[in-house]
C-alpha cells in the first residue's frame, strides 16, 4: 500500500510542475508586461509598487530564469503580495478562506452521495420503470440548470417570499453575542441554500453514473450466481451488487473536485460567502494578478489532491488496483 502511495505522489510531481508552467504561461499571455498592464490599468499603483512588481516577476531576466525563480518561490508558498490596498501576502489571504470553501464543498459532496446513490440504485434495479423515467428527465433538468439561476430562484423563494432563510454571508449581525446553540442554528441557516446549490450541480452526473455502474454490475456472472443459489433479491442487490458498484464512485468523487471548486466562485459570490471563490472573483474584478495566480495554482493543487485521495481510497477498498 505504501509503495502505491509513494508511486502516486511521485507521479504528482511532473503534474505539479506542469500546473505551475501553464499558470506561468497564462500570466505572460497578457498583452505587454504584467507591470505595464498593472500600471496602465490602475492609477493606484505607485512607482515603488511598480519596482517591486518588476522584481517580483524578474522581468529583466530571460524567461526560463524567470520561471525558475517563480517556481522556487512557489515551493515556499510565496505568491507575492496582493495588489489590494491592504498589501497582505497572497497566501495569508487564501489560507484564511480555504476552510470555508473546503467545508462547504465537503458538505455538498455528502449531500450528492446521500441523494444520488439511492436514486441511481433504484433506477438501475428497475430500468424503464416510472421511477427510472422520472429520474432520467430530472437528470436532463439537472444537467441543464444554470446553478446561479437556481441560486436566484431559491433566494427569491426562501429568502424573500417566505423569509425563512438568510440570503447572504455566513453569520448574522449579532453572531458574536449568540449562545453556542444559536450560533449553530445561525450557521446552518446561512449555509443551507449555498450547500444545496453547490450540491445540485453534481447530483445529476453522480446519479447517472451510479445507475450505469449498477446496471453494469447486475449484468455480471457473479450476480447471476448469487441469484441462482437462491439468495433473496435484497441481499443480491445491496450486498453483492451495490458494494461493487460503489467502487468507481470513489474515482468519480476525485474527478468532481475541479467542478466543485470552480462552482464555488459562483455560489460564494452570489451568497456573499467569504471563501476562496469569492476571493477569486474579487481578485479578477480588481485585476489583482498575484492573487489570481495564487488561486489558480492552489485550485489546481486541490484538484490533484482530490485525485490522489480518490486513487488511494480506491486502492484501499479494492485490492485488484494495488496489485497493478
Amino acid at each position: 500500500m505504501w509503495a502505491f502511495i509513494v508511486k502516486r505522489l511521485l507521479l504528482m510531481i511532473p503534474l505539479l510542475v506542469g500546473i505551475t508552467l501553464v499558470s506561468f504561461v497564462v500570466i505572460h499571455l497578457a498583452p505587454g508586461t504584467p507591470v505595464e498592464l498593472q500600471t496602465t490599468m490602475s492609477p493606484k499603483v505607485s512607482l515603488e509598487a511598480q519596482k517591486r512588481l518588476r522584481e517580483l516577476y524578474g522581468l529583466d531576466q530571460p524567461l526560463h530564469i524567470q520561471y525558475w525563480n517563480w517556481l522556487k518561490r512557489m515551493v515556499f508558498l510565496d505568491f507575492g503580495l496582493s495588489f489590494s490596498p491592504d498589501r497582505r501576502p497572497v497566501w495569508d489571504k487564501i489560507k484564511e478562506r480555504l476552510p470555508v470553501t473546503i467545508t462547504l464543498n465537503l458538505l455538498s459532496l455528502l449531500i450528492i452521495l446521500g441523494v444520488a446513490i439511492p436514486i441511481g440504485v433504484l433506477a438501475a434495479v428497475r430500468p424503464h420503470s416510472w421511477f427510472d423515467r422520472a429520474t432520467t428527465l430530472l437528470v436532463f433538468f439537472g444537467f441543464s440548470m444554470p446553478t446561479f439561476w437556481l441560486a436566484l430562484l431559491l433566494m427569491m423563494f426562501f429568502g424573500v417570499y417566505l423569509d425563512w432563510l438568510p440570503i447572504s454571508g455566513l453569520t448574522s449581525l449579532g453572531y458574536l453575542h449568540f449562545t453556542w446553540w444559536q450560533k449553530i442554528q445561525d450557521l446552518v441557516a446561512h449555509i443551507t441554500l449555498p450547500v444545496l446549490v453547490a450540491a445540485f450541480g453534481g447530483l445529476a452526473g453522480m446519479s447517472r453514473y451510479m445507475r450505469a455502474n449498477m446496471l453494469e454490475v447486475i449484468r455480471q456472472d457473479y450476480i447471476t450466481t448469487a441469484r441462482a443459489k437462491g439468495l433473496p433479491e435484497r441481499t443480491v442487490i445491496f450486498k453483492h451488487a451495490l458494494r461493487n458498484a460503489l467502487l468507481p464512485v470513489i474515482t468519480m468523487l476525485g474527478l468532481s473536485v475541479p467542478g466543485l471548486i470552480g462552482g464555488s466562485v459562483i455560489f460564494e459570490s452570489i451568497f456573499s460567502i467569504p471563501g476562496m471563490g469569492q476571493l477569486f472573483y474579487g481578485a479578477v474584478m480588481a485585476r489583482d494578478y498575484p492573487l489570481v495566480m495564487g488561486e489558480l495554482v492552489i485550485g489546481a493543487f486541490l484538484t490533484l489532491l482530490g485525485n490522489l485521495l480518490a486513487d488511494v481510497g480506491y486502492a484501499l477498498v479494492d485490492p485488484r488496483i494495488r496489485a497493478e
Partner: protein
Amino acid sequence: MRRREFWARFRRNKMAMSGLLLVGGMFLVSFFAPWLAPYDPSQIDLKEALLPPSAKHWLGTDPLGRDVLSRIIYGSQVSLKVGFVAVGLATLIGLVVGAVAGYYGGWVDLVLMRFVDLMLCFPSFFLILAVIALLEPSIWNIMVVIGLTSWMGVARLVRAEFLSLKEREFVEAARALGASDLRLILRHLLPNAMAPVMVNATLGVAGAILTESALSFLGLGVQPPTPSWGNILTAGKDNLEIAWWLSLFPGLAILVTVMSYNLLGEGIREAIDPRLKD
C-alpha cells in the same frame, strides 16, 4: 444505408426530436430577432423602468426601462454565437491533438496525453476567469477562452477511436497502397471517428452556453449594453426583492436552450449506437 437507420432511430426518440425542434426554434428566433422583438432591445425609457409583465411589455421591463422580451430574443444571438464558435474551436483543437496522439503513438502520444491530464487539473472555471482577468471581457475573448479550456474531452475521444481504428484492415490496405499519413488521417481515420465527436460537440454547446451565461452574470462576460441572458440576470439579482420577472424569464431561456442541446446530443448518441441506451 447507415444514414437511413440513424434517422429511423432518431425519429422514434421523442426526447431527441423535441431537442431537435427546440434547437431549430432557437436558430429561427436568433436569425429573425429584428422582426420578432417588439421593441429595440437597447432603447432606454426611464419612465417605464421595472414594470411587471403587462400587455405592453409581455415580460416586463428592466431598471433602464428596456423591454425584457426583446432583450431575451436578442440575447439568443449571443448564446448561439458563443456556443458554436467556442465548441468549433474546442473541437478543432481536440481533433488535431487527438488525431496526432492516436496516429503517431509513442512519445508524441505520451507528451500530448500528459498535457491533456495537466489541463484537466485546472478547475476550468478558474482558468477561464484568470484569463478573462488578463484580457478584456468581451464576447470574442469569451469564445476563445471557453474553446481553449474545453478541448480535452474531444482529444481523448479521438485518440481512443484512432488507436482502435488504425489497427483495422482498411487502414492497412490504404497504407499498403501508399497513402500518406495526412491522407490516412483525413480520408480514412477521421471520418470514422466523427460520430462520438458530433455527440460531444452537441453536448459541448450546452456547456458553453452555461459557461457564457455564468460569466456574463458575474459581469465578466458579454458587456452591457449588448443583451445576454446572463447579464439580464445580473439586473435580476440586484432587484431580487422587487422584480421577479427579471430573474425568472432569462433563466428559463437558458434552461430550455441548454436542455434542448442536451436532449439532441443524447438523442444522436443513442441513434448512433442503440446499445448505449443501457
